[in-house]
Amino acid sequence: MKTIDKDISIVIEICGSAGEGTISAGEILSRFMSAQGFEIMSFDAYPAEIRGFGKCVAHTRVSANPIYSPGKLADVLIALNDNHAISQLSALKKGGILIYDSQPPKPHEEDQSVVARADAVTISYGVPLTMLAQKAAGNARGRNMVALGALTALFHLDRDAFTNSIKDRYGKKKQIVIDSNVNSFLEGFDWTKENIDKADTISFQGVTPPQSKAEQKGEKLIINGNQLVAKAALDADLKFYAGYPITPATKIMEILSKELPKHGGTLLQTEDEISAIGAVIGAGYGGIRAMTGTSGPGFALMTEFTGLSVMAEMPAVIIDSQRGGPSTGIPTKTEQSDFNAAMFGGTGDCPRVVLAPTDTTSCYDATVLALYLAEKYQTLVVILLDFFLSNSIRNIDTPKKPAPKMLNANIAPDAADLAGYQRYKITDSGISPRTIPGTPGGMYFATGLEHDANGRPNYTDKGHLAMTAKRFRKHASVLAEAPAPMISGTQEMVDIGVISWGSSAGAAHEAVVTAAGEGISAAAFSSMMLSPFPEKQVTAFAGRCKKILIPELNYTGQFADFVTKIIKRPVERLNFITGRPMAAEDIVEKMREMI
């Protein structure tokens, strides 16, 4: 019997219509698996190839080992809706498992049922989902729970613990709601135990999740990137957030609208993104920590203000959670195509800091770091998230609260500085001590015009050069405090080195491990800090790689172009824009081709 061991993890997809409980079933499954001590990574997808309205897929990867990427193909597909599930069959592994409704409310035309469309090697289990839900609760609403009951029975999961997870999920609802869900689950469990002849090999029987996990059970957070960004911002003393709704960043604003006032802060919903970043810069000027969040279209509107933040040396943090395509694009799909916009968008020679978290946990670290760097270096910090990082759910260890030094970073002038105060004093670090309005003796004029050390407009060639150089010197100082790049794989010369960024990095690091198992020598490099970029480290890394592969979710390879310039040699690219996050399998396939 095949059990979950250190080399195995499974992907379960639940596919249905909006309103059929697809997403909540996925959520309960993830929470149960997490409570059992497994690692989980899950996300809800809304594929573009929707016919009709409302197809959704809850995708959950479960593993006894650390998870770095979401997995490409599913081991199990639960079809709550045959119409939708048919188009999801292409994401099911060869020989995978299909659980479907054997007595659907309306019988399918011949050939139109998911089981008829599944290929011959698929292991299909028909469970009368609708009928059993009716029996348990008097209506069909509990079909999703029946399916979870079937899954529990098939894979020998802990029935009573699963029941508790359902109770937890609906704990605040009326008793009748809890009972209907639990009864539907049990109905599905019992029916499957009695009627299904198991033909697959997946079983959780006897699998003890890694001991460490079990110990930490209580401290695990089940959380997505947006929630973690909001949490980090509050922990890092954010006092002001301005925003304008846009997928996938809206949730950050919604969470903070509840939480910020409790923390003595203010949330401002603005008339547009220009106003949002303007207000953030105004609040930063006033001396408090401020942030805004948006996606590509909003970031485009903000670019003029990004230049002001850099030029007037005012702290500002912008989160850009990337989605698909230019313009309004594909709002509900993930992409990494705002790299160039974040790194280079805007006016003039404009040194900014750009951070891209590589996984859920690092969304926390990046937010804390961004607020710190913006305040200390009095500049613009952009955090590049994407639809996948914003929305995918992980169970992670509760992050450590930021150290005190991260919370109070403004470099204020001392008495000597204040005598003849120069707000834009030229310094080696590029940082000039900054007063905040209200400070007697520290008054200054801030402007987006080029200026001298006092802030007075000055367009002389020498003056402009000296100030531009000063602003760029911040880069060297920031780099000195940048988190070390993550390097995995062997330390020796390798056949393939994978250099990646953002949410694709996890897949790259995982791919290196898989590739090693196939005898491909490989190593992976990723850096949360994109600007300034750790050029020395990446050059050193590239120096021990025979070939370089750069995988990313955009059409041309924006990051690959950037890295090519630094390491001065051609690279192999892996680009796709299907809206699916990068999986380790994608990279391993490419590595096989390259060998």
């Binding site: 301005a242 220009i274 303007g278 207000a279 400070t439 004029f445 407009p457």
Partner: protein, 332 residues
């Protein structure tokens, strides 16, 4: 280039008290900002022999004016505006209002956009932030929400506030953010040298509409009223006492104060809003007499010509944005 400065000094100095032209320093940054009128006028001004001969007189005059108490609110920087520009008068009124309100310098924040008017914070002895074209309101909003203890002014030209930045006005007004907004309305784009703005009258010839402006102008007072501003007033650059009173009242008002100042651009507008035309076309609002808390009568008064100056509307009861947030927090 025509001989703007001398013309301007004549008409300007009659209207606005101290001889501002004496305080302007046309030589500060000649030719440094290709976009400005300032550099250009400076060239002609420095070439003016009569002016150099008068140096002794000017020094004396400068010393005299400096001795006045309210000038502590002036920064040491000499304005780069064209001699005779209406903005000098606005600034004098501003300094005097600050003096009479006895505002602590370090608690004043003047936030401006881009334009000749955008330069204003440089000339104030306080904190100041010269932001982007059209964006003084968002920045001032963020600042006020961060620091309620500060007295925050936002300043903008008509192009800045009603053209490129026109989308922000309705929202700062309906939110009732407690800042004082001063519209430097010369009905022309000054800094970019004389194109039509959102308040340029129909048919006026400008550098962007040489055969006459095809657009109908906006009425800023009506807009401010319609947007729900809780304080709406109009002043005139040739009436320093009137402007001072409005700036004081606007600053003391708790909530969003909108103050339109009618002012000439002596360099790029020779036909429409000149000192002469303004003088003839401006009157006290008493002539129209809107009841200060009556929106309808304020709207009617806003339609009238000659242009009434004074407070059109004030709602003293309405809570500011931050008052509302506090109420909500305490209600929980």
């Amino acid at each position: 280039m025509n001989t703007v400065p001398t013309d301007a000094i004549k008409s300007g100095s009659v209207q606005s008290g101290p001889d501002h032209s004496a305080l302007s320093d046309p030589g500060t940054e000649p030719g440094t900002e290709p976009e400005t009128a300032v550099g250009k006028t400076a060239e002609t001004a420095t070439g003016n022999a009569a002016e150099t001969e008068q140096a002794g007189y000017l020094d004396e005059k400068i010393a005299q004016v400096r001795a006045m108490d309210f000038l502590q609110y002036r920064s040491p920087d000499l304005p780069t505006w064209c001699p005779g520009c209406g903005y000098f008068g606005i600034m004098d009124a501003f300094y005097k209002a600050c003096r009479e309100l006895d505002l602590a310098h370090e608690n004043i924040c003047a936030v401006s956009g881009i334009g000749c008017s955008g330069r204003t914070p440089i000339f104030i002895n306080s904190y100041g932030f010269h932001t982007l074209h059209g964006r003084s309101i968002p920045v001032a909003t963020g600042l006020k929400l961060a620091r309620e203890d500060l007295t925050v002014f936002a300043m903008a030209g008509d192009g800045d506030a009603l053209g490129i930045g026109g989308g922000h006005l309705p929202h700062v007004a309906r939110k009732n953010i407690d800042i004082t907004f001063i519209l430097f309305d010369n009905s022309i784009y000054g800094l970019t040298k004389g194109q039509s703005s959102s308040t340029t009258p129909y048919e006026t010839k400008t550098n962007s509409h040489p055969v006459g402006n095809p657009d109908t102008p906006l009425n800023p007072i009506k807009l401010a009223l319609a947007y729900g501003s809780s304080f709406v007033a109009r002043g005139y650059a040739g009436d320093p006492e009137g402007m001072k009173a409005l700036i004081k009242a606007g600053t003391l008002h708790r909530g969003f104060s909108f103050i339109q100042i009618l002012t000439p651009c002596v360099t790029f507008d020779k036909t429409n809003r000149t000192w002469k035309a303004l003088k003839e076309n401006v009157c006290s609002l008493n002539l129209h007499a809107p009841a200060p808390d009556n929106m309808e009568s304020a709207m009617r008064a806003a339609e009238n010509e000659p242009y009434g100056t004074g407070i059109f509307y004030q709602d003293k009861e309405r809570p500011s944005y931050q008052d509302i947030l506090r109420q909500k927090k305490n209600a929980k």
